[in-house]
């Protein structure tokens, strides 16, 4: 066994020994990936995983480094970029990824990408030209 594989075994014992905690959080990410358009919230995740939402929130943040809501926002912004690149209007892309307010979508998009949706749309249009 090389040094790296020995280190992996050590980290598994030290950081990932509580399998029940891992079982609680694993599966939420693919659920978000497949249902990002829906009205997802912590109450729903806690019902799916049969744990309190505060417990779930703490565990998720501990093992993934961000909250389920933060991951959901990242996923929605990422998918909206795909839809805008594919030619969808900004309003359509906003609705398609599950945002109800165009204002909050635009603000989040700007914060996450550094561009407003309109700037992003124009820059991609120029690239196509």
């Amino acid at each position: 066994m090389n040094r790296y594989n020995r280190e992996i075994a050590k980290i598994k014992d030290a950081c990932y020994s509580k399998q029940w905690q891992l079982d609680t959080v694993i599966g939420i990410k693919p659920y978000i990936d497949n249902h990002y358009q829906d009205d997802l919230n912590l109450d729903l995740f806690s019902r799916i995983k049969f744990v309190s939402k505060y417990h779930l929130l703490r565990l998720y943040k501990r093992y993934y480094g961000l909250t389920p809501k933060q991951y959901l926002i990242d996923k929605r912004v990422e998918m909206s970029k795909v839809y805008i690149r594919d030619g969808m209007s900004i309003t359509e892309a906003c609705n398609e990824v599950g945002f109800e307010s165009l204002g909050s979508f635009s603000a989040l998009f700007k914060r996450k990408t550094g561009f407003t949706p309109t700037e992003f749309q124009k820059s991609n249009f120029r690239e196509v030209e």
Partner: protein, 131 residues
């Protein structure tokens, strides 16, 4: 400031280009002569062709400390860098079928699954799937 380029030291650029395009299915982006038989040779992910470029850099051939560092990491089994995949097990089976050698077989580490393979250019590469 933007992250546009990341580099990986390779012993042989021709061999590296073959491995990264034929086995890993990356796409060649830039290939510019830079003196001698060295090239500014970059590849991008087939799934994200507007994403960061990976420079296949001939540094170990030209610069002893890079060669020593690369060799030390390789001998310890430590990956030089890592790439994301959707399904580690599936990619492990695909690459194994193409003759790629793995030093760490698919292993679950908490909320990720990892595996490490030899890129035949002096480096170990880790692939990771977030569970």
């Amino acid at each position: 400031m933007k992250i546009k380029l990341l580099s990986i030291p390779v012993n042989d650029q021709n061999q590296a280009l073959s491995f990264y395009t034929e086995k890993l299915q990356f796409v060649k982006k830039l290939d510019i002569p830079v003196g001698g038989d060295n090239r500014w040779l970059t590849v991008v992910s087939n799934e994200e062709q507007d994403g960061p470029e990976l420079l296949l850099e001939p540094a170990p051939k030209e610069f002893r400390p890079t060669r020593d560092y690369q060799k030390a990491l390789f001998e310890a089994g430590i990956p030089y860098t890592q790439f994301d995949v959707d399904d580690v097990q599936k990619e492990f089976e695909r690459l194994t079928g193409l003759g790629v050698e793995f030093t760490t077989h698919p292993t679950v580490m908490g909320t990720v699954k990892i595996a490490v393979f030899n890129d035949t250019c002096g480096n170990l590469i880790q692939m990771v799937e977030i569970l």
